[in-house]
């Protein structure tokens, strides 16, 4: 698999972070990152994206709805 450009390198980021690339490709990729500051920054940013999005998209059940859930389960489970 060639790593001749930033585009090639960025295409491989998921496989790289999942540890699914062969040692030759990893070596070429790391060589590219070592000589390409924008790609190295992009790698760090790409790696941090899931955690940031997870925090941003977290939702908490409103208390009134949580109370209603408890009431529903009490009623349903006592019957069963």
């Amino acid at each position: 698999m060639p790593v001749d450009s930033c585009k090639d390198a960025i295409e491989l980021l998921l496989g790289y972070l999942d540890g699914e690339l062969g040692p030759d490709v990893v070596s070429k990729l790391e060589q590219h990152f070592g000589g390409c500051a924008p790609c190295e920054e992009f790698l760090k940013a790409y790696r941090a994206t899931p955690q940031l999005c997870k925090k941003a998209l977290a939702a908490k059940m409103p208390q009134a709805m949580a109370d209603s859930l408890t009431g529903f389960l009490r009623g349903a489970l006592k019957k069963s």
Binding site: C6, A45, Y46, A48, K55, A56, L57, M61
Partner: protein, 222 residues
């Protein structure tokens, strides 16, 4: 000599090994919610539900985009989970199971919902020159990616960017990066192959990254 193996023991079985108690989440020596719930203790089950309800409700809300649907999915999931407790020996397994069932229920509701078809824009990633050199650099404000703090404006920008993803990309991104399901679990839920899921996840992450960078570069104009 050690006692017979406990493998997280059944409700009426022998006591759990100390190391197994750690795995089922009550290493302080107290009996955990799960074990008590499995013995039929409803108040312990309420404690277990309280620990997992935000994860289940959040997943259902992100998928269905409806508080009423999310509330109903959450009720259904925890009702079914009570009946499945015997098959869920650890809190980790319980947590994974309720998320998986919530995803199935939510997707099922989406499939049955009549929604006017919308034109989907392919996810946008970074831009390159003709020779494949990266044009977009990570902006200064987003440079310390691991250390970025989340404020309300950035949170809103991420929400909008997630909503703008094509639905199939959005579902994969939510299930993997927000809800923590495995590729195999996502494949089972969506019916897509693992390579297709990985491809969509990559495109979605690139689009989310581009949106975050645009937020820092241009303000909240996502």
């Amino acid at each position: 000599m050690a006692d017979a193996p406990c493998p997280f023991s059944e409700v009426d079985g022998p006591p759990l090994h100390a190391q197994c108690r750690l795995r089922v989440g009550f290493g302080d020596g107290t009996v955990g919610f799960l074990e008590r719930a499995r013995a039929g203790d409803l108040s312990a089950y309420e404690g277990l539900v309280a620990e997992h309800r935000d994860a289940v409700y959040g997943l259902a809300l992100r998928f269905t985009r409806s508080e009423a649907d999310a509330a109903e999915v959450t009720q259904e999931v925890f009702l079914r989970a009570w009946r499945a407790l015997a098959e869920l020996p650890t809190e980790e397994r319980f947590g994974a199971w309720v998320r998986r069932v919530a995803a199935n229920q939510s997707l099922s509701r989406l499939r049955h919902r009549k929604v006017a078809s919308q034109v989907e824009v392919p996810p946008q990633g970074p831009e390159f020159t003709e020779r494949g050199t990266l044009i977009d650099e990570v902006p200064d404000g987003a440079r310390d990616a691991e250390g970025l703090s989340l404020d309300a404006e950035l949170g809103r920008a991420i929400e909008l960017a997630s909503d703008a993803l094509p639905e199939a990309h959005r579902q994969v991104f939510l299930l993997k990066d927000v809800d923590g399901l495995s590729y195999e679990e996502i494949s089972e839920i969506t019916g897509e192959s693992v390579p297709a899921i990985k491809s969509r996840l990559h495109r979605a992450r690139l689009a989310m990254r581009a949106a975050i960078d645009r937020f820092y570069r241009d303000g909240d104009n996502i």
